[in-house]
Structure formats: structure tokens, C-alpha cells
Point group: C2
Chain length 341, copies 2
DNA sequence: TTGAAAGCGTTACCAC
DNA sequence: GTGGTAACGCTTTCAA
């Protein structure tokens, strides 16, 4: 910037004004400065700016894995929303490890993000995030962090789960199974609980078959096979997220089971599988959008008590669960066919 | 840091040494400093550090859309690779707009990323990226930027396309179609050319039917319907990427066409569609990994001429294309069935 | 093993 | 409209 000032024969301050599109610079002066900036290939040093201003016009996001479509949609929508306010999104993956998450919190705070959005890896707030929450707005997405003074944006796990169970029950499925992801994941637990409650409150017979991960290789297959055999075989299963849905689809197809699958989280092409997969849809993009809006609200001075926002889910019914259970029919190996009811 | 120094009754420099795990601090001094850091909730200011050091231990990535699984896998693998060298990944979406890409290049350079990886939005290097390439290592991924002094990591578009066409021809498909993505995308063009060349060199009859986007709503359906009617109907189509594959699958299923689809880019569940989809698999994670390695090689002092790396593709054969063309058979509306040949 | 002081590039404040 | 100067928080250099 000093170089530019020298060449343009103006002061550093004037260059700074031009770079920041500030008022009070004669157009011709500005033009000259801009020309020099161009020829010199000058780039403002954000670090220096951050240092002086004490702010960074960026917000941070910590998820489990950016490679997972659910999280990458979250990140993409947050990026859009942040950009609408001239902010940068720094998004990183903690790989489900609380200690890595803590490191990343510190790294983002060190980069002076103005707000931090986290999909927590565990249900216990780390020291790092407690400290962070004292200095800047923190928003938990998808899973809460009890005891942390932070806003929270969740989707309606209870309602979503209930809608799936009710739908299956309405189609004469009586013996349902639930396959959750890793028990350490809050949503898996939550949906598990909601599943059992819905099962009971609907007065479905017997006890619900449920399992929680993490699953060893082939374990999902084993579980399904067991559930599908015996005197009261399961005719439909609900999963707790896209990862498990995938494993279940693979198992069902590999084993040739006649099993209705309802997934948590929508995914591309779900409609075109055979049978099509009904899903509980929660919109990660909407979650991300609200989270960023929450951050900005706080930055704009909103200092009310922490809020929890619960976004609705939507049951997307596809062939898989419209197909009613065929009570008393022979359950041989004949392949599931899309049969609208 | 000054606060910490005061409280710990040491100099700022000593605190700095502790924070950076430098040698030459008595363990007890270090312990005391660390304790104060903890109680004060001190966080090193990366901006100030960057300013003084002139480096940022971060690298930048510009893609089209982080929400697209292909790009998010690229980003995830780059993040892993960067972390293995203690670097941060700043990943942003340009939404396919060259002017936004230019802005983002400047924004990342302003943040003093040490290297920049770009999936270029157009084939013409912007001024911004030209300037950037003079100051730091730039790597183009997936698409080249002719005339830019930068390393490039591509996947083998010609080979991948040829493998798909040869595979189809070997299964007696004679009338093939190619549906490319937006003509502005280099890979779409490239695969289009390779498709036509393969078609000719294999001596397939007639002229290859091809189309390039962008497609209006419903246009893909119209094109396919036209190709599938007439005297020499197309029996198989190749797409140029996952976006088009999706549109084609939707159209094929909606129209009930009896058409073999080979996709470019693998995707989850491709195996379980009916019919299963054969794909040309290119590993975005591998591309990302190599790109980051290239950046680090340059940072480590490698100053050879720019290199272009071409990674191989792999044809993943699934039922869709194993199914041979049924020459002379009636082509009524009967639904495609998985028929191994 | 520890410390003092200079300086990185920018912006805020005030003066002209 | 424009310019000088201090200060942001850190690391480098050099000295103790």
C-alpha cells in the first residue's frame, strides 16, 4: 500500500480510502490510484486489516465431514447466506472427533471469525467451545449442546420420526425396526426414543426392534436378517440418517429381503430405486440459512436469551411405504415390486 | 498476549515462545504461562501472526458449488491433505460465474493463502488469477487454463470417454447418443469431442447424436424422445457428468424409455437403480490430493516448468450396459429389465 | 533462558 | 479532499 501511495503520489491513507471504496476521494485521484494498484498487482492484506479492525468478516462452520452431502449442502447454503452479508465462510471437518473439534474451534477463534456454527461431535461442550461462546455468537446446528450458552437450530426429530411410524402403521405395517447411527450421535438417540414412543403410543404389537451403531462390517445385514426371520418378522425399517439408509439399501438388495425402508434424510434418486424409498426430509440448507441469520442477529446486537429453533420435517412418500404390508402372504424370495396401494 | 505476559510476570516474547511451542523456555515458566492463558481465555491472533510472518498456513480452493457431491469430495480430500501439513483449507463456491471467481481469487489472495487450487469457471484465465499465479502456486483441477503458468491436474477425459463408447459398442450398441453439460464447461466439450472420435474410429453407423447444454427445463426429455424415435433409434446414451446423468435418469424413467445410460462420474446407489447405471469413474478425492501435493511441492521449492498430471479413469460396469442392444426386437413401452448378457 | 524494541500493513483519529 | 501518526498483536533480531 505504501508502494502504491508512492507511485500515485498520494498518501497511504488515500490509497486505503480507495481500496475500501470510502467517500471523499476525488474521482480522478481514485482513478489514478486504481491504475497503479492494477499495474503493481497490489492486494490488500486481510491479516493487517483484521488486526487493525479487530474483525474479520468471516464466520466459521465445523461439521463432521464436508464430503457427506448433508453437510456439504449445509455448508453451501451457509456460504450463500454469509456472502449476502459480505462474509466469508470458513468450513472445516472435525471427523466426529471431539478433540479435533476443540482444536478447530481454537483455530477458527484465532482467525477471529465473528461467529461460529457447529454441528457438535459430542453432547458435552468442550472447554474450547465454552470459551468461544463467551467471545462470539455460537450456534449449534442439528444437535444441541446442553449447558452451553448458545442458540440452537434443530430439525423436528420427534415429529419426523412420528410421521414415519404413523405412516407405516397406517399401511398395516405392525412389526417395525429402527436402525440408528452411532449411539454417540444425539439425533440417533433422539430418533430412537421417538421411535419407541411412537410405537407404543400407536399400540403396535410386541416390542419394537431397534439397534444403534456403530456397526461393524456386515452387521447391518446380520441384524436385518435376524429381524426378518422368526414368527413375527419385521416388515419395515426406519433408519436414522442417510449413512444408515445407504447401508440398509445395500443389505436389502444383497440379501433380497422383502422389506420396506423409510430413510431419514432425503437423497437424490431415492425415487428411482426399486422399491422407491420414502424419507423423512429435513432441509439442511434451511438449517444453515437460519443458523447464519441467527449469527447475524446476534452481531446486530440481539442479546436476548439463547433461542432454540426447531424446523419442521416433511415426509416424502414414495412407493416403498405406500406398499402395505401383506399380512399372511407367503414371504418367499420374490423381489419387492412397486405396488401402489 | 501482553495481558498474559503481565499476569505471568514474563515478557511478551516468552509468551510467544510458549504459544508457539518454541525451544528454550523453562518447563515451569511455560507451565505458568499456560495456566494464565487458560484462565484468561487467550487466543493468538492469526491475523497479527500472518502479518508479521507474511504467511498464513492456509490454501484456497475455488469450485463451482460446494453442495455438489463431486466438489465436496474434492474439498474434503484436499482438507485432509492440507491438514497433514498443518494447513487450513479455505473453500469457496464461484457458482460457475467467472466474475465471481475473479473476486474470490482476490479475496483468497488477500487472505494470503499460500497456494490456490481452482476448478476454473471458464477457459480464459482472468486477470485476477494471472496476477495470483505470479505470487503463489496455482493449480488447476479438472479443467486447464490455457496460457496460465500453473500446474494442472486432470482426469483422463479421452480415455474415459473411449472406454465407455468401446464398452457399448462391444455390447452391440450401434446408435449412441451423447448428452453433455453446459458447452462452456471444458470437460463437456472435451468428452464430446472424444465421443465423436471414438464413434468414428469404431466405425459405428450413421452420425453420432450429440447435444450440449445448458438445457432448458424438459429439454433433456425432448432430446431423448427424439433420439429414441425414427428409423435408427439410439439405444444407449453417454452423459458428461453427474448432473446430466441425473436429468437423464429422470427423463428415462418418466418417459419409460428403453435406453441404456452410461454416466460420467460415479454416484452412490448407481448399482441399485433399475437398470443399474454403468459409469466412468473419476476419483475427485485423488484429484484433490494430487493438487495439494503439487502446491506443497512448489512451496518446498520445486520450480520446474508447470506440469500437467492426467489421472486415469475406471469404467465401472453395471447391469445397464452389460445389457446388449436388442437389434430388431420390438421396442414397445416394456420397461427396461436388468438382463445380464 | 529471557527480554527490549522494531516493524509487518492496515485503519482510526485528528489536523490541514 | 487529503495527509500524518499512532496503534492493532504478533514475531524477528539482537542483546543480556
Amino acid at each position: 500500500m505504501a508502494d502504491v501511495a508512492r507511485q500515485a503520489e498520494v498518501s497511504i491513507k488515500t490509497v486505503s480510502r480507495v481500496v475500501n471504496d470510502e467517500e471523499g476521494v476525488r474521482p480522478q485521484t481514485a482513478a489514478k490510484v486504481r491504475a497503479i494498484i492494477e499495474t503493481l498487482g497490489f492486494h490488500r492484506h486481510e491479516g493487517a486489516s483484521m488486526l487493525r479492525k479487530g474483525r474479520s468478516t468471516s464466520i466459521g462452520l465445523i461439521v463432521e465431514d464436508l464430503g457427506n452431502p448433508w453437510y456439504s449442502q449445509l455448508a453451501a447454503s451457509m456460504e450463500r447466506e454469509a456472502r449476502s452479508r459480505q462474509h466469508f465462510l470458513l468450513s472445516v471437518s472435525a471427523e466426529g472427533l471431539p478433540e479435533r473439534e476443540a482444536e478447530l474451534v481454537d483455530a477458527l477463534v484465532a482467525r477471529r471469525v465473528e461467529g461460529l456454527v457447529v454441528v457438535p461431535a459430542s453432547s458435552i461442550p468442550s472447554e474450547a467451545i465454552r470459551r468461544a461462546a463467551l467471545q462470539l455468537p455460537v450456534v449449534c446446528v442439528d444437535r444441541p449442546l446442553p449447558g452451553l450458552h448458545a442458540d440452537t437450530v434443530l430439525s423436528d426429530n420427534d415429529g419426523g420420526t412420528r410421521s414415519a411410524v404413523e405412516h407405516l402403521a397406517a399401511h398395516r405395517h405392525q412389526h417395525l425396526g429402527f436402525l440408528g447411527d452411532d449411539a454417540a450421535i444425539w439425533t440417533a438417540q433422539r430418533r430412537h426414543t421417538a421411535f419407541v414412543q411412537s410405537y407404543d403410543s400407536l399400540g403396535l404389537p410386541g416390542r419394537p426392534r431397534t439397534a444403534l451403531g456403530p456397526y461393524a462390517a456386515g452387521e447391518v445385514s446380520d441384524i436385518l436378517q435376524e429381524w426378518c426371520s422368526g414368527t413375527a418378522p419385521v416388515t419395515a425399517v426406519l433408519t436414522s440418517n442417510n449413512r444408515v439408509t445407504l447401508a440398509v439399501i445395500v443389505a436389502v438388495r444383497t440379501l433380497g429381503l422383502d422389506l420396506v425402508v423409510v430413510g431419514y434424510d432425503d437423497f437424490e434418486l431415492a425415487e428411482f430405486l426399486d422399491p422407491p424409498i420414502t424419507v423423512v426430509h429435513q432441509d439442511p440448507a434451511a438449517l444453515g440459512e437460519r443458523a447464519v441469520q441467527q449469527i447475524f442477529a446476534r452481531l446486530d446486537g440481539d442479546d436476548a436469551e439463547p433461542r432454540t429453533l426447531v424446523l419442521p420435517t416433511r415426509l416424502i412418500v414414495r412407493g416403498s411405504a405406500r406398499r402395505a404390508a401383506r399380512i399372511g402372504e407367503g414371504r418367499s424370495g420374490d423381489r419387492a415390486r412397486h405396488t401402489a396401494s
